[in-house]
Amino acid sequence: MEPISRSTRDEAVIQIMPLIVRLSWRNLIHDRLRFVATVIGIVFSIVLVTVQMGLFLSFERMVTTMIDHAPADLWVVPLGTKCFEDPSLVDERERFRALSINGVTEALPIVIGFAQWRLPSGGTTPVFIVGSDLRAGGMQPWNLAAGSLADLAIPGAVAIDQSYFGRLGTKGLGASAEIRDQKVQVTAVTKGIRAFTTTPYVFTSLDRARAYVGTSPNKATYFLVRVDSNADVESIRGRLQAILSESEVLTPDEFRRRSRSFWLFGTGAGAALFAGALLGIIVGTVIVAQTLYSSTKDHLNEFATLRAVGASGMYIYKIIIIQALLSAIIGFCIAAGIGLTVVNATAESALPIIMTPGMSVGLFLLTVVMCVLSAISAIVQVMRIDPAVVFTR
């Protein structure tokens, strides 16, 4: 039996397609250079949108990562707190007031703040201290890659993330350094706890955190409030708010929204990401529109012939829209491949780009909408065709 050649196989595949799809496909690849330009335009556009939206998702997760992992039913935060990294202080008396409310089982203090980490090679780098009562199950580090939570009870013990080894000049577990002239030792290493501000998080006990950031012992940044499992959180929240004069009481969701709003929109970072994504969509739409328009212009005689032999307007529009959809599918597949490569390449970096199944579906729909919208200019052109030209050309 003779082997089937590739071109014969390709032709067989093409023959299975409905004629209208075949015609659209061949119109599209008739000018290969233009088709390649179209696909590059779509790929460029979608990769740009993928990166921007992936960064946005990543930032969105990063700015709430501490809130997401805190075992709190309610947060007591200083009045006007904008985000988790906002290091204002509340008095310890607020904690006791909170504990006086019936249904509140715990109000764990958390101290956060910036400090200087002295590098073994000399010089310092800023770190973000997160201190809590680890024995009571406060703001503990998660995703431990080495060491244990119990080891954090050792005097001077800290936990850092492995992605910041280079920044902190350490080789990992057991390494020593100094924070505010006090010796620290890395006794636990986490994986994937990255900060939006790019300043490394350093987890430690509550007392040592106070010492590292210079906070007095009767102050804390937040109190993590836990309520009785049978209690009504909203009702407790109301009562807490009524007696806490210098603090606000937020649910985790409210604190997340506030943090996201501050970092992503208050700072303009989110707007910049959206602007980049919008730019990608505009560039992609213009490129696809331009190529579909010129492709349609090149095939005007054929469209006029179709119209003359009785094709409906819808049949002709379908050809153009199928061309747009084929471009969208091919462009999206290539862009998704590049996007996944970028996602994998940045997964272990300080700034990972995230792609979720929902985002992939959204990007595909965006590609389709972008390409179909691009077809409008071509459709408008086809609507003006006078089929009588077939007798004069």
Partner: protein
């Protein structure tokens, strides 16, 4: 008496506006019967192409009436005109207007695809139409792989595949040598007779006169003469 498949009654067509306005047709009436092959002859600028466009329901007349298989085209919207074309008319163009990216059989099938016919039976009909014009061995050839005569045969196959009542051909032999021209006209004459289809051929080409049942001469937008033997036309 054989009923006409295509009738034009007192057709006037004014082209352009203002001072450049031209009356291209000045009250043209004619009719074409099923099974008849009619030649429409006349010098350049006589209004042949305008008349063909109106008879083909592509242009609307300024006044007068067109009837295709008894159905009047007056007040039809563009989409209704398109439906009339695909249901009753087949077209053959001077420069073939084949789709260069499609094979011969695809080009023919396209005329059925625009009617919404299912793919499998459409392919069978397209191959049969190509066999009728003697091209059953070239079904998979692209237009660039075919001679001019063969391309015109594919165009004829595309025109007849939907069993139209009327075929309108615009200078179908002008790009062909004598032998191919005669062969094409023979095919058209056979189709007219076998399928009881009215065939109207616009031409300058005197070589094809022997194939005509009737010759209508047009000059300066008017019918100036008819000759040949009719087949029951009034």
């Amino acid at each position: 008496m054989i009923l006409p498949v295509l009738e034009a009654v007192d057709i006037v067509k004014i082209l352009g506006r203002g001072p450049s306005q031209v009356q291209a047709l000045k009250g043209v009436s004619l009719s074409l019967a099923g099974g008849e092959l009619m030649l429409l002859m006349g010098p350049s600028g006589s209004g042949k192409t305008t008349l063909l466009s109106i008879l083909g329901c592509i242009l609307s007349p300024s006044s007068g009436q067109i009837r295709v298989c008894g159905q009047t085209t007056a007040s039809l919207q563009p989409e209704e005109m398109a439906k009339l074309r695909r249901d009753y008319l087949g077209f053959i163009f001077q420069s073939y207007h084949l789709f260069p990216t499609l094979t011969a059989v695809d080009n023919v099938q396209l005329a059925l695809d625009v009617r919404g016919e299912a793919s499998a039976p459409a392919i069978v009909k397209a191959k049969a139409a190509l066999a009728t014009v003697g091209l059953s061995h070239k079904t998979k050839s692209f237009p660039r792989e075919l001679s001019h005569g063969e391309q015109q045969r594919v165009a004829i196959a595309r025109a007849i595949v939907g069993n139209p009542s009327v075929i309108l051909a615009d200078e179908p032999t002008s790009a062909l040598d004598s032998e191919n021209g005669r062969a094409i006209m023979k095919v058209l004459a056979e189709i007219a007779k076998k399928q009881s289809c009215g065939v109207l051929v616009v031409t300058h080409d005197p070589r094809i006169v022997p194939f005509a049942d009737r010759i209508v001469r047009i000059e300066d937008g008017r019918i100036v003469g008819e000759e040949g033997c009719g087949v029951g036309i009034k």
